[in-house]
Amino acid sequence: MNNQKTKKLYEFRKVAILIAICLVFTILLPGVFLTWSNIRSILYSVSLTGIMICGATFAVLIGGIDRTVSGNAAVAGACCCSLLLSGDGSMGSTVLAILAGLGCGILSGLFHGLVLSRFDIPAFLMTLATNQVLYGIVQYITQNKLINVMNAKAFNTIGSARILGIPVPVYILLICFLVSYVVLNHTVYGRNLYSVGGNREASKLSGINCRKVICIAYMISGFMGALSGLILSSMNQQASATQATGYENDVLAAIVVGGISLRGGSGTLQGAMFGAFLIGIISNGLRLLGIDAIYHDLVKGVIIIAAIAFDMYSSYSMSGMKKRGPFRRKASSAE
């Protein structure tokens, strides 16, 4: 089969899974699930993790993992909110505070990039530890109290305002997605990123500065984490020392469910978004159905396993490896 066609079918398969699940919920929830307001609320609820995913995908594609997305979000939120409190409330100080927050994320990303590109350290463990450090820093900034910024109106608009009836965070997600998509698919950097993730040695021998590529990937991840932290702070009109805890797990889950290989170099941003929406839609549907929260994890786990198994199975059968099975040796045509 033509490879491009197959690839398109792969992508379609993911959409098909989503559509199937949506269809089930639409039938179960007539007039509720498939409404404009519910779609809006799904988008809104996915926007935070979605933005983090846009960043973390970069880190996973180069063969790393970034568990500090939540720490970056928390540091950025705390840093920004404390500056907002000490600022004079003018537009200038608000912008400065936002930039400072984003700067925190980029700095943290730079650090991770520098260390992880230089040393052969399991990124999983490294970012687990640094995430703890980042939360320690957040605790220093917040002194373990809520930083209440409900009076910073300009800042809070980000989280609460709507344009054409759609909340601003959704637009930000859209922008992040589009920018990341363009970066990954239409820029030299994106090409180099996939190349480094796919084969670092070959990329090096092709004249790519692998360390730079890796550093930038983590910086983007840090930036997106920080951005979502700012939006979270703005939505909540506060910064807390526990802000965004646990998001790193949601983000990682969405990414792996979306078919991005943890070995790097393979997978798409659309796939990761599919993961995010799969989890988001299931949660939303279960809540709308009024199913008790205690069943949510169970149902989610089963659906994810089923979806992945279906995905794996159909990718084998579509690539014509049905008879042989996925792990049999493939007789190559080369001698």
Binding site: S195, A202, S206, A334
Partner: protein, 507 residues
Amino acid sequence: MAETLLEMKNIEKIFAHVHALDHVNFEICKGEVVSLLGENGAGKSTLIKILTGVYPKDGGEIFFEGKQVEIDNKHDAEKLGIAVIFQELSLIPTLSVTQNIMLGKEMSTLGMIHYSAEKKKIAELIQRYDFPLEADAIVETLSVAQRQMVEILKALSADAKLIIMDEPTASLSRKESEVLYKIINQLRDQGVSIIYISHRLEEVFNLADRIAILRDGKNVGLVDREEIVPGDVVKMMIGKRLSEATASRNLTLSDKEVVLEVKNLTHLGYYENVSFQVHAGEVLVLTGLVGSGRTEVLRSIFGADPYDSGQVIYRGEVLKKNRIKHTVSKGFGLIPEDRRTQGFAPLLSVTRNVAVTNYDALAHMGFVNRAKEDELGEAVVGMVDLRPANPNVAVGNLSGGNQQKVVLGKWLTRDLNVILIDEPTVGIDIGAKDEIYDFIEKMTMQGIAVLMVSSDIAEVLRVAHRIIVMKEGRVIREFHDGAVTQEQILLAQSGLKEQAKEEAQYE
């Protein structure tokens, strides 16, 4: 001679309409060493892979100990007592020698391994063959030679009746090789049959009881030990087709400008005092056995590895050490030794892989011009005649030859001044090989300086304008003009005694 152990009759194998094996017959008796000779792509590996169940055969019959057998997978082969010592080793790096040898057939009661008993057994085995090995050494700490010995032991401990050795001495030192010869002789005495594949003719001549020669997937000769005449064997291997073109070659010293000059390059422990010049439009081949430091020189020139002293000079300009981007910007390209680990990203498409080196031309302000990129992909497919002719195929799914074409395509599309090529045709079928040689020739026509590393003599003769022979990290010989023959290079590479005589003749 003893009774026949294995007989392969009229074996056929067709790859993509090409007869890789065309009614090939092969026979080996018990306690016999038969050497399978042939150029790369003559069908040796295919035959072996059919024998071991890696490939299904498309025709013919196999008899083992008189009975007709079907070998569908490696397990079948093993049951029969056929063991292969592959070039690419199949050991478990983190386990010990004993554990590796006993893997899958441990001595145990209720799952508990009698490790000391196993160790004793393996130690005895090691002692019997006098291997420089320890029974409980961890495999990843061993040298390549030692790992190979482990592989041999593994075959022996499985009571293999037939051991196939594919280029076993390729990465062994002379002393290590001699140990191996001893082992082979010992095995023969014990009634084990050995199919021995090697490019080192002198060892074949010394070891083999018989030599079976393949060319272009056909039997071309079977020579008994007593009848071996080295020149005839080489002629049979090379055949008529190539004899005129490449059996010997007239080398000429180019008078064009010097593009690349390497001066006293030294990387302690890898190579020492290497100096040479490459002219525009010239192919300089660095040859020598594996481990002679050729690849390391190439990588250092490209900036992929550091060096301790010396200079790399491009058109009078001293290049910075260890800076690939710098050398690439000067118009250098590298086709690396192991394309699988260094050449391409297997999951990415042809276009993406090829474009990696070309974004300076394909992108504007950091944005990729996709139309141009696709064009490039299409262009490369046409340029290197990729099969299937689809630029969107993931490179990992291509055949070895086509993968190499992709790696070549990475650089062909650039304005190159110097290309460094490392063993471009290993594991590639004949057709694709020829195409790759054509590209090299085309490049020289464009005035590109080519520095190539190769251990395939036919290949060296086919493309070289000048030949440098390296051994143990030093340049030991240069052929720069006049006619040179395969024999000469072979002998020079191996450092045989005739060397002195030859040198006198050609220098």
